[in-house]
Symmetry: C2
Subunit: 391 residues, 2 copies
């Protein structure tokens, strides 16, 4: 059997995602689609609107065969590390191809780009350093770097999905047998677009409507499972965790904050000061924001602080990779059985004495996610992969 990988967050699962799954299967011709999905906290440093089990179930109901959790240490990261972790897990489980969305109109050869980066890694680093003095944003900087080094590719790093695609290309090219890449052009609904039209809408637009209690307007853009889940399950957002973040900042010394992951450059002073002034998470980020500290970067930093993540903890997970199964279809189960002997990474179906230590951060993340609402259920202990019946 052959597998095509996809890298997802499903926040929440919508018709665009369903289209993506179908196209991944069609373009690759693979037997199964394997999704590596962020857990309860996401790439942009936000809590997921619904928990990982609910979202995994939606995916299984809509064509995904295997859902693997992208560990917190890889998921809550800038595009580069997010891609590195996800590609590592897809490679680990033997995927032959990777299908991902992109929102640039020109056709970019992501495989070629990946090979170029791997071959010229040192040169890119130096050029980046050289241009770093201008203190512009990361996307602007990277665009400038490649304009000098590889002008014929005409790369634009300003779109989040495109940056991810480029990162996938780069991380994939590192492997001896890279996956075949299938970029999929988004037809409608740019990443940040907030209006709803026809049967597609961006996840951002959907979350906005849901949190404004206008779920009924979303029936056409969501699979029926998601539509129902959004009316039944507890919904999370950052403001629910703001009191805990503020408490953590108020009660920690500067030394303690500096011991946390990515708290550097004196940002601890800005963070603590802002926590005393702000009356909401939105206000907090707005106070801390600078050209160098983008919204997403501050949210990730806030997520690390909320989770009390020490510098050495991330490294630990990076070194010890694992495949945490959230669910699978019957076809997915067959594929897993086939792969079992070939796979080097441990496949984890449940928390046990043996894996508890390196799953520590994911367990903690589940407990913290639960603090958002009384009705959010236990995320790890006693939970088993969802087995979906054949469609």
């Amino acid at each position: 059997m052959e597998a095509c990988g996809i890298i997802v967050e499903y926040n929440p699962f919508h018709n665009g995602h369903r289209y993506h799954v179908l196209q991944a299967s069609k373009l690759s011709g693979a037997d199964v689609v394997v999704a590596v999905m962020s857990g309860n906290f996401l790439q942009r440093g936000e809590p997921a609107i619904m928990d990982k089990w609910v979202r995994a179930n939606e995916a299984l109901d809509n064509g995904v065969d295997i859902v693997i959790e992208l560990p917190f240490a890889w998921a809550v990261q800038s595009a580069d590390y997010f891609a590195r972790g996800a590609v590592k897990l897809l490679q680990g489980i033997g995927c032959k191809s990777l299908c991902f969305g992109t929102d640039v109109s020109e056709t970019v050869d992501y495989e070629k780009f990946g090979r170029f980066v791997v071959a010229n890694n040192q040169l890119i680093k130096e050029k980046y350093k050289e241009l770093n003095k201008a203190r512009v944003s990361y996307p602007q900087q990277m665009t400038a770097v490649f304009q000098e080094l590889y002008p014929e590719m005409m790369l634009d790093f300003s779109s989040p999905n495109h940056i991810l695609g480029l990162s996938y290309g780069k991380e994939n090219a590192v492997y001896q047998t890279p996956m075949k890449l299938y970029p999929l052009k988004r037809e409608q609904s740019a990443y940040h677009e907030t209006t709803i039209h026809q049967q597609f809408a961006s996840a951002t637009a959907i979350r906005k409507k849901v949190l404004e209690n206008e779920l009924s307007e979303l029936e056409q853009v969501l699979p029926k499972e998601t539509y129902q889940d959004l009316s039944e399950y507890p919904l999370a957002h950052w403001e629910l965790y703001w009191p805990y973040l503020r408490y953590k900042l108020n009660s920690s010394s500067y030394d303690e904050l500096r011991a946390l992951y990515q708290v550097t450059e004196g940002i601890e002073y800005r963070l603590k000061e802002a926590s005393l002034k702000a009356t909401s998470f939105g206000e907090f980020v707005a106070i801390v924001k600078t050209k160098r500290y983008t919204w997403a970067r501050i949210q990730r930093l806030a997520t690390y602080i909320l989770h009390n993540v020490k510098k050495e903890e991330i490294q630990l997970v990076w070194e010890k990779s694992y495949l945490r199964l959230l669910g699978f279809s019957e076809k997915g189960q067959k594929y897993l059985k086939e792969q079992k002997k070939k796979v080097d990474l441990p496949i984890i179906s449940r928390i046990s004495k043996e894996n508890k230590s390196f799953l520590d951060l994911d367990i903690r993340s589940g407990q913290i996610y639960q603090l958002g609402k009384e009705t959010i259920t236990e995320q790890n202990f006693g939970r088993f992969p969802i087995k979906s019946l054949e469609r």
Copy 2:
């Protein structure tokens, strides 16, 4: 001018406290009454029902001339250390006498008891150790110790106020010129009594009524200032801080918990487990409670954890004593001017660059107290001692 000291919490200030202030003045014949008062967290490890400024103001309105804050590091402690800190500050500000409430019917010579303890310190420690094996409660143990060593005193350590009186006697006897002690027998309302009768009621009974929204029943047992304050100011209690305590326990490793003050003997495991099960602070304490870990001890432990108090921080405050002024009357101001040259301890009227470092724990405690309700005002920065006009 001569001063009589009193040691108080005023949670909240009631008619019994008013009687105590008047008697302190009358029995001692002093010109001013100086109160050392716990800040926003109290001896039994609880948040005060109203903040320290509101309570200090009630005291000034009802006959107290000077209110000094007992720092967090002394206030949230078992009777011995609570007494040590309070007596130190009263000695520091030159009090010649100390008047305190007691609820035992027999007359106990607290001064004599104090001298006995100072002279036989080593013997008492050894006897305590010898009897410690039985693992009974502290009061039971101490009663047994003194039954053997000093039977004619017939000491009973089962009443909280009596224990405090004995501790005052002991701590006072250490000084070269001890204060004259005036024990004042409580006429009615034992410490834990919860019914309201006539013009006196215990603070416990009053808090219970207030938090059950039955303030109107309390008009006869409260001075008019307290009665008004309780209807106007934000009221705090432990359940408001429970989410933060739970988050702190959930997000901290066992190593991190062990680095906190008084987290020893493996209690960190019990605490963390209980925090995952309990749905309220009351439930949490009930789960953790054992014979050795009394309700008050667990509450104090919870308060240290909530405040993220490291082992070394308490020692720092103990070594660096200071007199933090919360308020004074005109007579109190005259006394302070007179004492200024004689006093060794720094007198602190406001937070400044110079005192910020050793006031750190008190500042943090104010910020954490504020997290209980949006309407609780800033407790330290920009706050000055209250000057009450002559009555």
